[in-house]
Structure formats: structure tokens, C-alpha cells
């Protein structure tokens, strides 16, 4: 009697284990089948309703830094998933939350700005219209503005860190080609203790590209005079050569243009401009050498590249 009860119990256990195995197999198969079904999703809808970091601070119950880490890690995954077409729409908002939760967390400022700049380039080059009818250029510009907003927050929250105005200046100089803005950021960066000395050279270059040749000359001359080593002196000298060449070239080409208006043809050489009274003398480059003049086009160039002197 006892034996038969034990056997019955044993076979019930075996049946139960078999049932569990069958159920777990069914779970795996159904999970795979369900995952295959493509569900309609509102792209980016998962982040629209993330509240401001100011409110999240209270909701994280003292785990602000941890929440910032979690959102940052999530943001990295989110923004490196190219299939989400509109992932850049709320970029500034997402990084503002991280910055609000942990203002001294440095990486999100730099990475957020980098994602924004890369995103802008992707918007301009991708075969898909990531702007979704808003205009590629306008959308890309809005992303660059988001990069500046993120870096500005970084600078405001960490006034001892020169890297944020430096990065902003670099974006303005190289990507946006907004030279007055680049000059402003580099100037801001130079004022922060610990900023590298090359930042003032970048500022001088931004001033040159802005077209303010007089200030550019003065700035490079100042750098030349204060240069702590021969290398810096050489760099400043090359830039001074370039600034002077640009000023002289503009004056010579303008004179050549006036000569053509008066004589119906371009001057045969630069001395002709002096003879005709358009110039008092033919300027020479910073090394005292003559500029090359092409009588066929009226263009003037230096004898050597400023960067190979």
C-alpha cells in the first residue's frame, strides 16, 4: 500500500517535471514568435514625456547621481541606434536632465555635444530625410545649437573647466564656420586657469577668418612677442606672414582691378601699378621677397606657402 503510494507520488513528480519542460519550451518558442511580430511604435515616444531634471531630482529619492548614470547609459544606447530616425529631436532635453541631476558629471556634456554635431552631419548626408520635411539644413543647424546649449550648461555648471568653451569654439570654428562665435568661445576659454596656450592661437586664427585683419595682425604680433619657445614663435611668424600677405594681396588685386577699368586691360606687371599712380610702391612679403603676379588673371600669390617657410 505504502509502496504504491510512493510510486504514484514519484510518477506524479516525473509528470510535473515533464510538464515544466514542455511549458518552458513553449515559452521560448512563443517568445521568439512574438519578438518576430513588428509592432508599430511612435519613434522617440519613449522619451517625450521624461520630465525636467528639476522634478526628477525629487523623484529619485536621493539617488540623483545613480539616476544620472542610468539615463546617461540609456542615452548612449538610444543615440547609437541608427534605426530610430527621430532620435535627435529631444537630444538637448535628455542631456539637460542628466546635467540637472548631476551637474558635475563631465562626460555627458562632451558626449552630448559630440552626438549633436555627428547628428547634424548625419542629417545632411543620410539618404533618408531625418528632418522629416523640416529642411535638412535648418534641422542640422538646430542640432548644432543643441551642442552649444549642452556645452554652455557644462561651462555654467563647471566654471573651472576650460574644455567646454574650447569644444564650443572648435565647433563654431570647424563645423559652423561662425568665426565671431568661435572667437567669443576661445576668449572665454583663455580666461579659465589651466587652459592650454594654443587656445589664444586658435582665437587669433578665428579673428583672421572673421576678416578682421588689423586685429588679427595685432594678436599674432602679441603672441609672437610673448612666445615662450621657438616653435610658438615660428607658428606666430607664419601667421603674421599670412596676414600681411592677405592684406597686400587684397591691395594689389584691387589696384590691378582699377588699372583695368582705366586702361581696358590688366597691368603687365606690378610695377605698372606704381607708374600709373595706383600704388606708392610695390609691397614685399614679410621675408622681403616679391609677390608673384599673373598678368593673365590679375591674381597675386606669395612666393612660398606661409606654412612652409
Amino acid at each position: 500500500m505504502l509502496k504504491s503510494a510512493a510510486a504514484k507520488k514519484g510518477s506524479a513528480t516525473v509528470l510535473l517535471v515533464l510538464f515544466l519542460l514542455a511549458a518552458s519550451s513553449a515559452i521560448v518558442l512563443l517568445k521568439a514568435a512574438t519578438d518576430k511580430v513588428v509592432r508599430t511604435k511612435i519613434p522617440g515616444s519613449s522619451i517625450i514625456y521624461i520630465p525636467s531634471g528639476k522634478f526628477l531630482k525629487f523623484a529619485t529619492f536621493g539617488y540623483r547621481d545613480l539616476a544620472a548614470d542610468a539615463i546617461y547609459i540609456w542615452a548612449i544606447q538610444y543615440y547609437t541606434t541608427p534605426t530610430i530616425d527621430d532620435r535627435f529631436d529631444h537630444l538637448d532635453h535628455v542631456f539637460a536632465i542628466i546635467n540637472e541631476l548631476d551637474p558635475r558629471f563631465q562626460d555627458p556634456y562632451e558626449v552630448g555635444a559630440m552626438i549633436a554635431v555627428d547628428g547634424a552631419q548625419e542629417v545632411l548626408t543620410d539618404t533618408r530625410d531625418l528632418s522629416r520635411g523640416r529642411g535638412r539644413l535648418e534641422y542640422a543647424r538646430s542640432l548644432i545649437q543643441a551642442a552649444f546649449a549642452i556645452l554652455d550648461r557644462g561651462a555654467a555648471n563647471n566654471p573651472d573647466q576650460w574644455v567646454y568653451p574650447f569644444n564650443a569654439g572648435h565647433i563654431a570654428l570647424m563645423t559652423l564656420k561662425d568665426y565671431p562665435l568661435a572667437e567669443k568661445y576661445f576668449e572665454q576659454c583663455m580666461k579659465i586657469p589651466g587652459a592650454p596656450e594654443f587656445v589664444e592661437r586658435l582665437r587669433a586664427n578665428a579673428i583672421y577668418k572673421k576678416g578682421d585683419l588689423k586685429t588679427s595682425w595685432e594678436t599674432w604680433l602679441d603672441i609672437f612677442k610673448r612666445a615662450p619657445d621657438e616653435r610658438t614663435k615660428k607658428i606666430a611668424s607664419n601667421h603674421l606672414y599670412n596676414v600681411k600677405a592677405t592684406i597686400d594681396r587684397a591691395a594689389l588685386e584691387e589696384a590691378a582691378s582699377k588699372y583695368r577699368e582705366g586702361h581696358g586691360r590688366l597691368p603687365p606687371d606690378l610695377e605698372a601699378l606704381v607708374r600709373a599712380g595706383f600704388l606708392r610702391e610695390v609691397p614685399k612679403d614679410l621675408d622681403g621677397k616679391d609677390y608673384f603676379y599673373d598678368p593673365a588673371t590679375g591674381k597675386v600669390r606669395t612666393a612660398i606657402s606661409p606654412w612652409r617657410r
Partner: protein, 254 residues
Amino acid sequence: MKIGAIAGITFKEAKRDRILYLLFFFAALGIVASRVLAILTVGDRVKIIKDVGLASISLFGVLMAILIGTGLVYKEIDKKTIYTLLAKPLYRAEFILGKFLGLVLTLFVMTGAMTLIFLAIVYAHTLKIEGSLLVAVAYIFLELVLVTAVAILFSSFSTPILSSLFALAFYLIGHLSWGLELILKKMRPGAGKALVRGLDMILPDLENFNFKTEVVHGLPIPPGIYLSSFLYGVCYTAFILGLAVLIFRRRDFI
């Protein structure tokens, strides 16, 4: 028959539990308060009402399932009433299934009541009964059934506090496990990827029961997912209950 009797007793017992009415009160408050939240928004107020209403039904339903479910088996052991029950010609599997069905019935009534309040609030704004909302509620209920099974599983071998924590962890894992798919896409092939893939298959994916976004935004739901999600929920629940029975059968109360 015996399962039905235990389920009936469990239902009556749950009805007397004050925590059930407390949670129901807060759920109803949440659904009604969605009207106030809607005032604070600019634009589509009905969307906010639907979001908050469905979230209240889901969240408070899960709390009901966990807080009541985790105490069901433990109470019988703690009060020693289990001895009286098991002395009768009753299989332990019948006991577990009866407890499970009793709580499922309780949750069905509660979800129904919360849904009625929710539909009334939506009706007050849109002047129409939106049947699609019931799809979301039905799958929320399926999720509650699974969470109930999990609560009973933990209740069969642990204390109510620990069981609640475990069941809550199950719920959170179930709603975060989609992240594994994201990680899988970024992993290089190898042992690590195989391990994550295994975890992805085993861990519960409660997002399969989440149709709230589609229903609120009126997005099309692929027909195939209804059946596969339903079967997934049923199989997972059966698996968890089987496990609970297996553990409970081997448990010694002396």
C-alpha cells in the same frame, strides 16, 4: 470541484482584506485625478486621461496581486489551517490552483470595477465608449494573472515580505528585459552573447502584454501578436504554477 471550493473560499477571504479596498481606493483616485492632470497639459487632454487611467489599473492591479498573493499560502501555514486542509483528500496541486483561481477571480472583479470608472471618465470627455481600450485592459489582466502565479510561487516557500520583493523584482525585470535585445544587437558573437540570448529567452517579457501605447495613439496592432502574446502569457503562467506545485509538494510543514 475541490479547486472551485478553495477558489471560492479564497475569493471570500480576499474580499475581506482591507488592503484590497485601500488599493482600489487609490486606483480609483488615480483614474479620477487624471482629469486634474489633464487640465495642466496643453493639447490632447484625453491622451493624458487614458495614459494615467491605464497606468493606474496596471500598477494598482499588480500591487493587489503581489500584496494579497504573497500572503495567501503563507497565512494558511502560519495559522496552521493548512493541517486541516491537507488532512482531507486534497492534492497539494489542487490547493495551489484553488488559491490561484480565487485570487484571479478577485483581480477580475477589481479590474472590472477599475475599468468601469476609467471608461466613465473617458466617456465624460469623448462622449463615446472606446472598445479598443478594453484590448489594453484585457492584456493588463493577463499580466496580472501571471504576476499572481509568481506571487503564489514565492508564497509557497518564503515569507510575505520576501515574496513581495521577489514578485516585484519579477515585475520590474519583466518590463526592463527588452533592454537585453538592445544589448544583443551591440554584442560581438561569443559566449557572452549566447548567455545574454539565453537570458533574453528565459526572463519574462511583460512588454508583450503592453498595448497601452498602441491603444492610446490609435496605432494598428499586428493581428499575429494577439494570439502569440496570449499563449505566451498562458504558458508562462502554467510554468510558474507547475513550479509552485512542485515546490509545494516537497514542502514539509512539521
